[in-house]
């Protein structure tokens, strides 16, 4: 069970659009080490975790990652608001726009869709925590 809270974990107020940067930042939403993969990784690993403290922290971090992916999506949304057709073409945002217009779709910067193959759940605590460190360490 989850409840929504109608605020961002940290406020995002971007004044100027920039579709080129939006395309890079989008990877932090739906890329291999993005926030959706992080959330699914932690929330899926917790069922086989043998330690109660770690079940707790996987639940709470997996939940916090959802707040992160909402912030990243907000950044992409605010960077791409009200673009003109010229801005879309010139910035290289056209390939994304043709399939998704200004909607937010979870993909990596290179256009690869968000995919569960980007993380692992093995039911073994050492293996799973090593995988968490590899993924979250990669984005520090």
């Amino acid at each position: 069970m989850w409840n929504y809270e109608k605020r961002l974990e940290y406020p995002v107020n971007i004044k100027e659009t920039n579709p080129k940067i939006a395309k890079f930042i989008m990877s932090q939403y739906g890329g291999p080490d993005g926030e959706i993969s992080a959330s699914l990784r932690y929330l899926s690993q917790r069922y086989a975790m043998p330690y109660r403290e770690v079940m707790g922290i996987l639940t709470d971090i997996g939940t916090e990652e959802m707040a992160h992916f909402e912030m990243v999506a907000t950044i992409v949304h605010q960077l791409t608001r009200n673009l003109t057709p010229e801005e879309i073409k010139e910035s290289g945002f056209g390939e994304y726009y043709i399939d998704h217009t200004l909607g937010i779709w979870p993909q990596a910067a290179g256009g690869i869709p968000q995919n569960a193959c980007e993380f692992q759940v093995k039911g073994d605590p050492i293996t799973d925590i090593m995988e968490d460190m590899a993924a979250d360490g990669a984005i520090v």
């Binding site: 605020r7 406020p11 971007i14 907000t74 605010q78």
Partner: protein, 88 residues
């Protein structure tokens, strides 16, 4: 500190601050469940957060359904969403 005369942005900023303390203490307590100092820190900021969320709901609009007390209009959907910006 929570003050009754805070404007909308100040109150939201306060909610963000106390919520950050609650979130971080939750993660710490998950692996340190017997730390008395951490427990009292968590309890203090959790109470401050609940107070501020209730005040925001009664003065402006609900941020959580737990604090929603809607009489004339369902503002949950009609008030701005977080990604629209314009907040502090």
């Amino acid at each position: 500190m929570l003050r009754q005369n805070m404007n909308k942005n100040q109150l939201l900023q306060w909610i963000n601050e106390v919520s950050f303390a609650v979130t971080e203490m939750t993660l710490y307590l998950d692996t340190h469940p017997d730390d008395a100092e951490a427990l009292s820190y968590f309890n203090h900021f959790n109470q401050e957060r609940q107070k501020a969320l209730r005040l925001y709901s009664s003065t402006y609009a609900p941020l959580t359904l737990d604090t929603a007390q809607e009489e004339n209009c369902w503002r949950w959907a009609t008030e701005p969403w977080p990604w629209e910006g314009g907040h502090c």
